[in-house]
Symmetry: D2
Subunit: 348 residues, 4 copies
């Protein structure tokens, strides 16, 4: 029985503490740190260099076959504050995935939801429940909870991309399920336009009449850079401000793309510094374009494209753009919002 | 006192009927036709010819100034079954509006919501709460309930478009309010891109983060033909069927564009006939492209671009396309849905 | 063809008007009164005396069998402003129904939803989809849209109650359906506790786990006076104010009891006058207890139990209680709310 | 830097692993147990004896003042599978709290939400944001997230009750906030009826009209045994089955009482065995009345009133009643439901 054994100097109390331990009980008055004035966060502000990620991914591509172990050639970002857990922040997994030319990563599915974001490169196809989605620079591709997904690279060139998953949340809720795909052979189809985009990607506010898409997550599985870029430019023009933030949403319900992860992209014009802000829950940043400084808590990181950064819960962060920065961001805000636990404030 | 006076042959009963009338009462057992097995609809299937609408609009343009009477040069479609009421079906107003070159229609607002659909032409700007929206062929432009709206035509050429309003519903609910605009002068601004589109029109599923758009109606006020056309083509490709129907929706909530009107557009490929279907509530059709036959109840209408058609409640209708037809449609389905009164069925 | 024929003094214009009429068109600029600054309401403030309703109901009981005509011995309140329509206000039907001892009113169903409210008396059973609901003083009983309902009176004494229906709304939407019950024989079962109340009436916030009740309307079909009385007293005590208003709601969704009608009950303490207030949409009042004055627009009505009153749209009304008044109220507010058309204000 | 250091026999790979560790990266292919076919749950089926809890609570009452350490004399149930964490299952805190006669536990608030359930006894008042709620046998009392709460016992007799909190979930999301009450003095008011119950507890479906209660949690803070008992009896009568389960809900929205915890109570008639069922997420049971056997996974526990039991995620459980059992239950189902992760099945 692993229950902690507390000690008291008073012999009667010490005996009582012994009985507590025997019975699987712990006295609240001896438990420190349960209820703190503000979140006591283990994860620390951190940056994984895009240059290093690419270099080590490439090296792994040379040394490690894609079928070694877990079907995927993935390097997980392990926040140094989390005691060895392979998580970028307490609630989010972030990683890079590397696929060499003509490699395939066969189908499986799991309850943790995943998203892919491409900083540079193109040519790999991700099939989600059999629908082939091309991945290119600046694209966001979704693989919602319990959808089969597989990757294949019909080109000669390797490709690298970023994965973000809600795995820590699903694990904390004891709700991990996993299943291999129906066939061992990878499906290597390609398509000019995915079925998902053909149905739901025609334009803002245009959806198939009478369709009954899956509840709780977006039926649109890819958000293309050309449109994201245009939307960012439009929003900046409409507001006249120095930065703009878009949310990627389910075009049918208007909710977040998936029930556990909020995806956003910010554009910060050259010379602009955003107001520091913080919110409960974790966040992972991915620099798409530009360079400058990203401040997280007391840390200042010089950033360039491909960098991944960890923003721990309730830690102020801001962007100081030297050259115009495009910054992709994933947070667990939908989880905190659903549970009435989201607090957000600017720290100007 | 207008209460009806029923008559009975039995003198005692007749006397009682007299007392009913004196007291503002009516005996249910003398009231026929209140509760019918199926809707007893007054509106009839009908078609207003686009060619005639254009011709008479033009003639009105020559003879009637835009300020004569009610600020707008509008011809309302009056369904012959409705006893002289200027409504296309019992719940929808449909009309054409004609604006000559360099004319303006000054700002006002009203609780009935309106939409504009353009069959042919361009160049007029509709300002909705001051946001200038260009109107061109195939575009859908919204003027939601209680938004100020005004029109101006900076060109030399006249322009004609279709208006649909929920006026009969708002009138039946005794909820009509109307207000003149804040200034007598029309606002004749134009813009390359409306503020509404700059914020909400970048792409499917891309919305400003943290925005708090108006509840219950779309913040996106224009749906452009280029995207609608692309979305129709994509949906047809994805399904492989002979026709496709898109719904225009609020890109933030996923609901209908306005709480009282559902907007849809169908493309029916040449040679295809759709399955007859019916639903409770009224519908107005507007042919954008193509020609063929539209059947409504027992009527068959040869249609061409610009034709407006009335589909009464619970009346089966279908499209038989000779040349590929694009068909814009407005129904009161959101009203019936909200009240638990929507029934729909195919009549194949 | 019933389209109105407008006339103009200018011969060219008059000829154009003739062509409009031929083509089923009406010129907006000749249509007055479509868009008014405030609702132009046809219904007028009115009161039907409870004493008279009871007297004439009794007399109808003597002269008219329950099967004469429409299955029900019902006297409909016809607002004098509505040109002979049997409606209390533009959107609500109100009536009294009278059932003699040992009479039955056999089952039927219709899309218009109904409610029963009992001012005095007891002993009749209403079966809703076969579930026997006893009706007693102060009870509210629901017969939602498209539920079979029938009444039987196993006692010797007659009983009278109030019916309110959304019939005018359903008729305006061309969505009336009606069906006779599955059997000609009335079901004359009784029960100590209805199935509906056994499942959903145990207490506030207690619902069967995992149940899937019908969407959009309350699964609880009876609201008993004992609890309503206790709830009114509790609310008055909690607020310390001179009047209190409760809303009857769906205990599972929290919404209104039915999608088209909001039911409320007010208690106004002796000597208290409520602040005049108005809202869009119609309302029917029913005095349960007490006496005093109810002011509606410019009218003042001395009221006593059993009186029914019509509050037209956007008309201020208030209660001036001499003896403590309990006032049941039905409005079409859910309809206006769903459509974004509800405006409400106090007129103090 | 705490990132794990993996080892490989291949020197090149081993060097690469060293660089991974230097850069805060972990190779997915060396991580076992991340994605399992079914949840690999650490918590084990467990039972804390009500008799022992009462005995040790009483002993703590003798030895430990209420102000020692954390304001509260609380014994936390520590599941032996959780490595010393003071949680009953991975997502729920369960404990007993003991207050001697005339003791007070002063006000504080925290983001973790709490509920109290009373197996036996009465006389303590819990004030929630200043509203005094009496606690008696069979009552459920809520202290939602971030509401101030304090307890006082004006009697001579001690009282014991059960606390359940969502603390593990809030901690996993790094969203713990805590604040002492506004005054050091405890508020020792009592009241015949709490304000919360006076407003929202009058009867099922009766709520104050126009009230704007807090969003996302119940405004009704106490659910009384008399009504729960009546509702259980009614449901059993309505269904004719051998067991019945009620959900405690927000009477205004119909949702769960709080966004992180679902509260239910089951009655299992003597001699009845329920069908084994399981769902993702954890559950804590509390026996209120009766005795028999509760089976959780492979374990069988003879239970009596006051026993607390841990049902780990995805573990089948069932009740075998010798004498009629009333069983209160708290699960994290609203969390899993909101995130699309709730799976439930019977294991018959």
């Amino acid at each position: 029985m692993a229950t902690r054994r507390f000690k008291a100097t008073d012999p009667e109390l010490d005996e009582l503490y012994g009985r507590f331990a025997d019975q699987g009980l712990q006295p609240l008055w001896e438990l420190a740190g349960l209820l703190t004035a503000e979140p006591r966060v283990q994860a620390v502000p951190y940056r994984w260099s895009g240059r290093v990620l690419r270099e080590l991914g490439t090296r792994a591509g040379e040394l490690v076959p894609v079928d070694r172990g877990g079907d995927r050639r993935v390097l997980a970002c392990a926040n140094p504050g989390l005691g060895g857990a392979p998580y970028a922040v307490g609630t989010l997994w972030a990683a890079i995935q590397y696929l060499r030319g003509h490699e395939v990563a066969p189908a499986h599915r799991h309850t943790p939801a995943a998203l892919r974001f491409v900083v540079e490169g193109e040519g790999v196809w991700t099939l989600v429940d059999g629908d082939p989605l091309h991945m290119g620079t600046g694209d966001l591709v979704l693989t919602p909870s319990w959808t089969f997904h597989e990757h294949h690279n019909p080109r000669d060139e390797p490709m690298i991309w970023v994965d973000v998953l809600d795995l820590p949340v699903v694990a904390a809720l004891d709700a991990i399920f996993f299943e291999e795909g129906p066939t061992e052979e990878a499906d290597t189809r390609t398509a000019v336009l995915s079925n998902s985009e053909a149905r739901y990607g025609g334009g803002p506010g245009l959806v198939p009449s009478g369709a009954a898409p899956p509840v709780g997550r977006s039926p649109l599985l890819a958000y293309r850079w050309a449109e994201t870029d245009r939307a960012l430019a439009g929003l900046l023009e409409a507001t006249g401000e120095g930065d703009a933030v878009l949310r990627y949403t389910d075009p049918v319900s208007g909710g977040d793309v998936m029930p556990t992860m909020r995806c956003e992209i910010a554009r910060v014009l050259a010379g602009v510094a955003t107001t520091p802000a913080r919110q409960t829950g974790g966040r992972v940043l991915c620099v798409l374009h530009g360079h400058g400084e990203i401040r997280i808590g007391a840390e200042r990181f010089e950033v360039e494209p491909g960098d991944l950064l960890a923003v721990p819960s309730w830690t102020p962060w801001s962007v100081h753009a030297e050259a115009e920065i495009d910054l992709f961001s994933t947070s667990d805000a939908p989880v905190l919002e659903a549970l009435g636990l989201l607090r957000a404030e600017t720290c100007g």
